[in-house]
């Protein structure tokens, strides 16, 4: 047998058969080569892709941890709602794709069948709401308002409701104990974004599409602790998503409980009194503008003097944090972020900034001491201070003759500080600073923690501003082009200012230093900065990073991680100067002091009060009132924007907060039983063996003033005289006439 045909075969056919054979085998070789390329050369890549193809995750949300006040009262917790959910995977396994089950379910829930079916369909570009836009492997909630009876029906007839679950599920709740909303401090949650889902996808705690993330306040700062860890079950699925087996199961871990240093009761008092004070001054007429006070916003900070812990922090206008629960409506959101509502989302305790006014004088006094002026030397408190042809007047042009720096605080004498500030400026070289210029007034302000964040554990704190030489230079460089364009010599007032700023806006002028010495001009501070600074004077000179969080307690209650207050610095003056300052501030509430008229009957010998009033001028607006006060234990700073003088607007409110803290009646008698917090809460709330933390009851704040006559039982009625028997403690601004 031979391969060579003998006859009938022409050369042409023979060659063509060989061509066919070559073609055929090159095709097969091509396939082999491509197969090698895919399987051997690039195999790993496709193996990975195949592995991702067949696995789906089901995430069980972790219950978010509660936020408690210092005694264990929940400020934010979760309420349990009965959520009925349907598993799409289970429904699709049925012959009728689950229509029968959903029909029965609609009947039990008193819902329309179509509504139920719409809720469990998947969203796409063509499907209008309602529809499910989460993972199709996730149980889809049909309602979160099921009654116990409905849930029981579904559970007892489980065979009629395959794929349907009725389970209690946690939903965030801001309980507002005793009407303490604590809105801006708590913050809020809002749904997770696509970006965040993407980023956390392969991490240890992936997000659900329905997840909520802390966006502001302590909900944001402590989001990681509060959020816990979602449980993840990985299932192997086929192309239709039918589950073939369970691959992995990490159970959910609930979030930790955050104990704060806040006291719900004091918070309620602070919120009420701030709002009431603002309401009060809106009825009063501003003598300068002739209009009623706007009192558009305000803030109050109550801080533990020795630790920097926040006992309460209120900001007006505020909002109900529960507005965010279950998704905020567009209308509500627009309202919360509009100019008309004056941005209630802002926490003005840390985000509101204004010139400090006279409460800045403790900084100026310290700067003067650092500049070599003895605290107890005499400085001329003239009725005005002249610079060239400019005159800087005292409040109502009162003069007090030569006085100590302590008295300058007591009377809030501007001219003393004008002179000192101006002298220091001259000493530093004036417009052209010397190389070794000390700039005491500016460095001291920074050393008091002004011009930078205090580091409080709340997000988006603002820095304020200390307008030193460097700032002047930077600001000028940023704005000179605009100024030079607008400015015109001899034009309108604004044009003239712009013209001058264009030429020499980078120079720290004499009048800048004079204005600055009493906390005016370009200086900006926040209430939390001032509270930190005054608390430092109170505690002997230690500046703290203020904290709201006090301890993180694990969900089982076994691990307690305390958040220790952090020291951020020391006041730049020696102990004696701090004592002098303290004495000066003490004299402010004593006869002749600018705040004396607000502290009539105060038990100064038992609970010594120190205070400083301030009234800051803001260009184009009514004055902003400041009131900075402290006792040995607490520091309270309140400010009301466009509210007039500090003592006038904020004085009574601050006193009422102290009254509540110490249990004082209007005459200054202390009833310890009524005292909310006569000394700071040291101990953490008790954790039960089962991990729960019992919450004491909180009674709503009753703002009616307690007069001695109404006091219950056996106590000697006391005259509205202070224990020290100093009738003169009751003063009035009219009689003293200093800048409050």
């Amino acid at each position: 047998m031979s391969n060579i045909p003998e006859t009938g075969r022409t050369q042409r056919v023979q060659i063509r058969l060989i061509v066919i054979q070559v073609l055929v085998f090159s095709l097969l070789l091509t396939l082999g080569g491509r197969l090698w390329y895919l399987q051997i050369r690039n195999g790993d890549e496709y193996t990975a892709e195949a592995a991702g193809n067949g696995v789906q995750q089901v995430v069980q949300p972790a219950v978010r941890g509660s936020i408690l006040d210092a005694r264990g009262v929940p400020l934010a917790d979760n309420e349990t709602r009965l959520v009925v959910s349907a598993s799409r995977t289970e429904l699709l396994k049925m012959k009728d794709d689950g229509v029968g089950v959903l029909t029965r379910l609609a009947d039990v829930l008193d819902m329309k069948v179509q509504d139920v079916r719409d809720k469990v369909r998947l969203c796409d570009s063509k499907t209008p709401q309602p529809c499910w836009n989460g993972s199709p492997y996730q149980p889809i909630p049909v309602t979160d308002e099921a009654t116990t009876q409905q849930a029981l029906q579904i559970r007892e007839r489980a065979e009629d409701f395959p794929g349907i679950t009725a389970e209690p599920t946690a939903v965030r709740r801001y309980a507002a104990p005793g009407k303490a909303r604590t809105a801006q401090v708590l913050g809020y949650l809002s749904p997770v974004t696509d970006d965040e889902i993407q980023k956390a996808q392969d991490g240890p705690s992936p997000y659900l599409r329905s997840d909520q993330v802390g966006r502001s306040g302590i909900e944001r700062t402590y989001d990681k602790e509060l959020r816990g860890k979602a449980g993840v079950t990985r299932y192997e699925v086929d192309n239709l998503g039918r589950v073939m087996g369970e691959a992995e199961n990490d159970p959910a871990v609930a979030g930790s409980t955050l104990v704060t240093s806040l006291d719900a009761r004091v918070q309620a008092v602070a919120e009420y009194e701030l709002a009431a004070a603002m309401k009060q001054v809106r009825n009063e007429t501003d003598k300068i503008t002739g209009r009623k006070y706007e009192a558009d916003s305000g803030a109050v900070v109550v801080m533990e003097s020795k630790t920097g812990r926040i006992v309460s922090m209120a900001s007006q206008p505020d909002y109900d944090p529960n507005d965010w629960v279950g998704g905020i409506s567009g209308k509500q959101y627009a309202k919360l972020t509009s100019k008309k509502s004056n941005y209630p989302l802002l926490n003005r305790g840390i985000q509101g900034q204004a010139p400090a006014g006279s409460i800045f004088k403790v900084v100026s006094a310290s700067a003067a001491v650092r500049g070599g002026h003895a605290f107890n030397d005499r400085y001329e408190c003239s009725s005005s201070y002249s610079l060239g042809n400019q005159t800087f007047a005292n409040f109502e042009s009162q003069g007090h003759g030569p006085i100590t720096l302590g008295d300058a605080l007591k009377y809030s004498c501007n001219t003393v500080f004008y002179r000192l500030g101006h002298e220091e400026w001259v000493k530093d070289g004036g417009i052209k600073p010397k190389k070794d210029a000390k700039n005491w007034f500016y460095t001291t302000a920074r050393d008091f923690g002004l011009g930078s964040e205090t580091g409080i554990d709340l997000p988006n704190e603002v820095k304020g501003r200390i307008p030193d030489r460097q700032w002047k230079q930077d600001f000028w460089e940023a704005n000179k082009d605009a100024w030079c364009k607008e400015g015109k010599k001899g034009g309108t007032y604004v044009q003239q200012i712009a013209y001058e700023s264009c030429l020499e806006g980078n120079q720290l002028k004499a009048y800048d230093s004079i204005n600055y010495s009493i906390g005016q001009g370009d200086v900006l501070v926040t209430p939390i900065q001032m509270a930190t600074a005054y608390a430092a004077i109170s505690n002997g000179g230690t500046l703290h990073e203020p904290t709201v969080g006090k301890a993180v307690i694990s969900p089982d209650g076994k691990t307690v991680q305390e958040i220790e207050p952090k020291v951020s610095g020391k006041l730049p003056v020696n102990a004696q100067t701090i004592k002098d300052l303290d004495k000066g501030l003490r004299s402010v509430v004593e006869p002749g002091g600018t705040a004396a008229w607000r502290f009539g009957g105060w038990p100064q010998d038992k609970i010594p009060m120190r205070a400083k009033t301030g009234t800051a001028q803001v260009y184009g607006k009514q004055t902003t009132g400041w009131f900075a006060t402290y006792t040995d234990d607490y520091t309270i700073v309140m400010t009301i924007s466009q509210g007039g003088t500090g003592s006038g607007s904020a004085g009574p409110a601050v006193r009422k907060i102290y009254d509540a803290l110490y249990g004082l009646d209007s005459a200054g008698n202390q009833d310890k039983k009524r005292a909310l917090l006569p000394e700071p809460q040291k101990a953490l709330p008790k954790v039960q063996p089962d991990g729960s933390i019992p919450a004491p009851k909180v009674k709503p704040y009753d703002p009616t003033p307690v007069t001695p006559e109404e006091q219950p039982g056996g106590q000697e009625p006391q005259l509205p005289l202070p224990p020290g028997g100093q009738p003169g403690l009751t003063g009035s601004p009219a009689s003293t006439g200093r800048q409050p």
Binding site: M1, S2, N3, P5, E6, T7, G8, R9, T10, R12, V13, Q14, R16, L17, V19, I20, Q21, L23, V24, F25, L27, L28, T30, L31, G32, R34, L35, W36, L38, Q39, I40, N42, G43, E45, Y46, T47, E49, A50, A51, N53, G54, E236, V237, D238, N239, L240, M244
Partner: protein, 397 residues
Amino acid sequence: MAGGFSVSRYTPDEGPWAKLTARDSLARRLDWPLLGAALALSFLGSLLVWSATRNRDHLTQGDPYFFLLRHALNTGIGLALMIGTIWLGHRTLRGAVPVLYGISVLLVLAVLTPLGTTVNGAHAWIKLPAGFSIQPSEFTKITIILVMAMLLAARVDAGDQAHPDHRTVAKALGLAAVPMAIVMLMPDLGSVMVMAVIVLGVLLASGASNRWVFGLIGAGAGGAVAIWQLGLLDDYQIARFAAFANPALDPAGVGYNTNQARIAIGSGGLTGTGLFEGTQTTGQFVPEQQTDFVFTVAGEELGFLGAGLIIVLLGVVLWRACRIARETTELYGTVVAAGIIAWFAFQSFENIGMTLGIMPVAGLPLPFVSYGGSSMFAVWVAVGLLQSIRVQRPMSA
């Protein structure tokens, strides 16, 4: 010899074993490597089809062996058809070619009537009672080969001509064009492509003038451009080409098939995941996996070695077919063999090539391996024809 024993006497007519082992016996003359490779492919095919369908309940009605048994049954029927074809012999069939051709044209025509049904966008099937259906275009491939071979070889084998003349070639092309045009209308573009390649192979092997060969190639290219330009393609066909040009185009839509197929094959590696162990296969991520995409099961579960074996076995089939084409002395046999080679080679290349992403997707089964009765019967008839050509070739020595 006592006892009447005849132990050593050579008696060619005695006993079936002797008959089988005789030098010129059928068994000796059969091409065993061809048969072995074809059987091995069918056997591998049954495993792969089984693996692909074992848990596709909507196809199997809950019986995991449904497709395994049907595939084995189809292979059995195919084997019987092969034996019948050998028994009849390709020369005997030559006389019946006009009748077979006529029947096949009528069958493809019938598809266009209400008797036809549509599967995956191609209106290419006739539904029979009891859940059976046939795809006439598979048989048409054979009748096109036979009718062209008959015409082209007739006068050459008679010794009248060295090569078929132009008139004969034109007539043969005309006869091929009729069923091709009908199949085009279905539209079953994949089968038309295979038929066009068959026609090309037949023309080449017949010794028709180069002008016809290159003319046909040119006409094919021109026709493709015309079809594209005139928009004669259905949307799904355009989409398949677009997805081929750019697989990332729409991974959930038209690119899904090719993408999932490539993931399945690529993830197999050298030795594969093992039969029934492939996640792409058990997860049913590749559509039509028991038919057009059966090669992906081999790629994923048997790896480079198993999938490579299929290519090697196809190579064996084609190698033996090429030998048969070259060894036979009559042009009729050569042309029939060449037609079958063109058919098997192109269809295998297109089928595997599309799963590997080097060819656009077309609904063509992998010979012997894919599930499908019509295709299985047709390829085994073709094997019968090849065997017959070999068995009946004139013995040279």
